[in-house]
Amino acid sequence: MYSIKVKKLCKSYRKEEKGKGRFGSLRFFFRRKYREIHALRDVSFSIERGEMVGIIGPNGAGKTTLLKILSGVLYPDSGSVSVLGYIPTRREKEFLRSITYFTGQRGFLSLTIWDLPPVDGYELIRHIYGIPESEYRRRLKYLVELLDVEDLIRTPLRKLSLGERTKVELVAALLHFPDLVLLDEPTIGLDIVSQKRLWEFFRLYNEERRATLLITSHYTRDIEELGKRVLILHRGRLLFDGDKKGLAKGLPDRKLVKVVFRSSPPPSLRGWRIEGDTALKQVKKSRLSDELRLISLDDSIIDITIEDPPFEDVIREIFTRGEVNDEVFDGSEKRDQT
């Protein structure tokens, strides 16, 4: 049974564009220029009930736009969308009772009860969804224990840290036990330990409640944490829809190593790209320790960071390896995957 069915979905925005140069702002004041942004282009997919699906893509890929269309907030320009059997933009009460949209950037409690403790916000949520008192107590206990926020729910929201706020906001987003959970970058800004805990929580919620979860992230490393199935969005196009194991084979076997020197990098450094006092190199994971051993002999190093390669490079690599149809990446029409 389908939870979500999307067919040939398109959405564009008009974005203001300020002129360049010294008088750009002045020209912009008198005459506005706009640019058309294609947030989603011809996106089609379907998701079955109880699936946990990750949507990966760089910033501006269209992930948030997609979730906002699925939740009925934005109107698509063309294409069809069915969510739990409803047309989202009609925003019928039963539909709204069955979904939740959560973003790590801000929450409903922050907007409504900033100076009050979360319990006051939960009471409001209880009445919004008409949850009976005893059931509300049971659900609150379940979520509070699962997210380990017992000590936080009676402290004014503004006094909580970002990570703590994210967790108490999640309780608010899930109190009505939705069948469809749309999570937009839910772990943004959190430390690794909190991120791990949240991923575990999402998996548990998915298993215990058989809810459908759609989670977006712009970190390629989150592919490991997300459900079995991954969608990759890039510049508004759906580039990949399938099992993450299949995708993992296509992921680059490299890390980006950045080494910052006290002054300029030594001239003896070969095969590294030099940017000011920083040397950069993409190194195969198997060669990482050897490479670090070699470079760490230099005592003028003040910082070393190891990151995933830029998303653009990852996507390019996936497609040049031929894991998916590379015509798609070049901008031609994507094959229908439904």
Partner: protein
Amino acid sequence: MTKYLTAAKNEIKLNFRYRFNLLAFSTGLLFPLLGYVFLWKTAYSGGGRVGEYSLNGLFTYYFWALFLDYTLPVFAYGDMAWNIKSGGLTLFLVRPFSFLFYYVSIIAGGTLVWATVNLAVLVPFGMVFARYFIFPGLTDFLVGFLFTAIGYFLALLLGFVINLLAFYLGDPSGFRGLYGWGMMLLGGSIIPLDLLGFPLDRLPFRFLYFIPAKAFMGEIRGDILGLLFEDVLWASISLFLVFLLWKRGLRKYEAYGG
């Protein structure tokens, strides 16, 4: 309905969170009133007269106008426009919870607190200066209360119209300022409209301060029904505009932010 009552209850709690602010704001209400008392006392001491007003008439007018000024939601809730501009509206749209009724509830909750505290500050002040104050009879008080209630609704709706312009303009704060400050002159909060020297009878704004204040003073007895009709008509037009801007605005909403 209980969801909106809970929202109003939370707003009352939020207002009491910073108790000193409540008291400080309401005490501030006394400063312009004191200023007016001394200004008009000086003006009248030389035997002068301002229009048809006696000193007591002017004091009473400003008493009511300032009370209305601090109670009506004219400047209130700019964060409604901010939520539309910044994407906070999204978190309301994904719930079975009306954004507009949410604001009606919290504005009502806030008004309950502010009107009570304002009265608590104003009544002792009125008693000290009781010799200048014209007390309303029961009928005048009820008529004044009725015009205040409709004026309150009108101010709320006009405020919504301005805030909903955020769908179209992005940031309507300039319009909100123009509207708020303009209201003080066109509504009769700064100067009674019959002293302005030019007619403002065709605008809805006089129903915010001038007409309710005059009703409390028992000076509109001749045409209560005609004024009530006009007041309700303006409120209905504003209500229609709110729904129109909301319905069309939602299609233009760009839901910025995560």
